[in-house]
Symmetry: D5
Subunit: 91 residues, 10 copies
């Protein structure tokens, strides 16, 4: 089941660089693990912004929220979810 997810990252400007780097390193590892599991089939950078547009493929909404809230950057992100259905013109 596919969900369209927009994530905007807003790290506090006074966060120590080491802490920010640690969060980003862990975020990358987690994001890549979900990709390898096939649960995060698309991850794109929004040009010009510290933001991404993603497609998440999970079994249900609880798994979606569990995945998103497990991200190390979750406390610093504004996330918007749009459920996607099959389009009748898609081949």
């Amino acid at each position: 089941m596919l969900f369209h997810v927009q994530m905007e990252v807003r790290l506090p400007h006074d966060m120590p660089a080491a802490q920010a780097d640690d969060i980003k390193t862990r975020e990358k590892a987690v994001a890549q693990e979900y990709q390898r599991q096939g649960k995060w089939p698309h991850l794109w950078r929004v040009a010009g912004r510290y933001a991404n547009i993603s497609i998440i493929d999970v079994a249900d909404i609880d798994e979606l929220h569990a995945l998103l809230s497990s991200l190390p950057l979750f406390p610093y992100m504004d996330i918007r979810v749009t459920p996607l259905a099959r389009h009748p013109s898609a081949i």
Copy 2:
């Protein structure tokens, strides 16, 4: 080059059904042709809306606009385009 495109369709309520059907039939054919050409790799329905979220893969912005404005529904759509870059965490 990937663009994220959101399309909201707003057909006038007083359009004759035959005309609307004709536009939709041609729209479907055109959309499927672009998909077969690999230029419209993803096409999803936004649940609950006469709208879609698409990923368009074209050589440049002029081709993007040519593609979108060639759609039979173009005069009746509100379209928003977001350019997508490669994400550093994408595998």
Copy 3:
């Protein structure tokens, strides 16, 4: 799987009364059938508006869109969907 759905109805002012009445009668029948099936567990009127807030319980997003787009009022509604997960404090 639960979805929070907001529906705003916007019937054209020049729709003949008989046509509007027919659509509303069919809408009511369809809505009540979905309720009887357990797929539309909650349906509330937004006070002061020709609008409702609903909870829809379906197996997946495709079924959600099929249900919503089967409503006779669908062409005249602005619909917003929010996916709902279980809340950790819910009993």
Copy 4:
């Protein structure tokens, strides 16, 4: 009398973890007590957000505000209330 309530939580990033945990623990206890009393019949998590959508069932608006402002997270929440009436198609 039913009210639709949307709550967005915005804890300051510099709040000590112990203080945040204490507030959340107390929030959970209070929310569950209101649920047991039948005053908070529905509590859902908005997928991807530190937010909930709730249905509150109280005798009047003063009780609604008393309930909401008694929540330990109240000073950190953006709350929107929508009054709900019975829908003529509800069974």
Copy 5:
């Protein structure tokens, strides 16, 4: 129980003057009857707009919606409702 209600009137420009006059005459009669009943204690014109801000005093939300949807202008109004609680500083 008090509700703050904002009403914006949007009559179609092509409505015949006689029909518009009839609706407005009936609206005025209904609004004044509700005022005499004490259910519409305040009714103010928003300066520069075909709009009003009202305070409605009813027993519950169903009565609020029944009152508002009984207004002859209801099909042509955009209405927003805000529930009001007693303010601790009010004397």
Copy 6:
């Protein structure tokens, strides 16, 4: 002359409790004094929010601004003013 005033209070989370209490105590005293003078005829709490909707009755706009900016909470409030005229259907 009546003005509709919406006030949203946003106290900084790091304001010491004693300072906040002092401001609120003084705010209450000032608000009640204006009520006793007949200049603040209505003061309601917006349910679920640290906000109020008020009707202010003053001789002119300068007095309105003087009143509002004399409030101890003024530096922490987002205030919106709407001028109210007599409504032709008001009795």
Copy 7:
């Protein structure tokens, strides 16, 4: 007493040219009469829009609404009013 007024004109595209011309001619006459009376001290065109920003000087809010609603274009305008107080730095 000064009010800042923004007026956006939205004439229906299907209004006959003669009718539109008549309304505009009368609007101009009325606007100039109010200017001569000193009640409309400033009237500027918003560059690029069929809109104006005006300063209206009237005795009270009822006179403001009477003036604005007497304009021949009133049924076709979206008007926003902002009350203006004396600025402490104005000379």
Copy 8:
């Protein structure tokens, strides 16, 4: 003097094709004449929309409004103007 101008075109769907074509033909001629005069140095299409972003170079604001309101599409456009100053980092 440079102004950044965004123009969104909204032709009524029921305008006869011949009339629309005539307006567009005249619009193109006028736009190209202003370009030749050096008053419209940049004209870009917003990808996916019947809209443009333009830079207009005129002597003053009155000339700007005269230019924009002389466009055959002016009655059908939503235009937003942003004044541009020299940037200290521009070379």
Copy 9:
């Protein structure tokens, strides 16, 4: 050449009072000097807000930006500029 300028002031709550007072004192002096020079012909307080609406009369856009960015409060203001043309009904 006239520009309509809206300025919202947002001083950080943790700015020391002496620093804020110094900025405001200098702001007032600068604002009054521009008024005496005829470059700031109108300056009004928006009732209920730490904000003003101004008319600025300068030779060109560069002078406008130079004037606005020379204000001591400039780093703490959200400023919106609207270019004003002569209105055909202005006398």
Copy 10:
């Protein structure tokens, strides 16, 4: 390939002046280098704001994001990108 880019700068008020000056100095150098390379053909100041409107000319979206995210002010900017196509009326 041209992109329209709007950049709003929001430096934290508590950033030390020396650090802010250093960032601005480096920003200017980088911006001018991109201009000399022909990748940033237009850079304008939005009058009254710490903001710019730019035209960026790059080979693709990845280069666009690389350019924008290399700016020293990038962590402090809100950036919006609009892809530009050739306009059929451009000469």
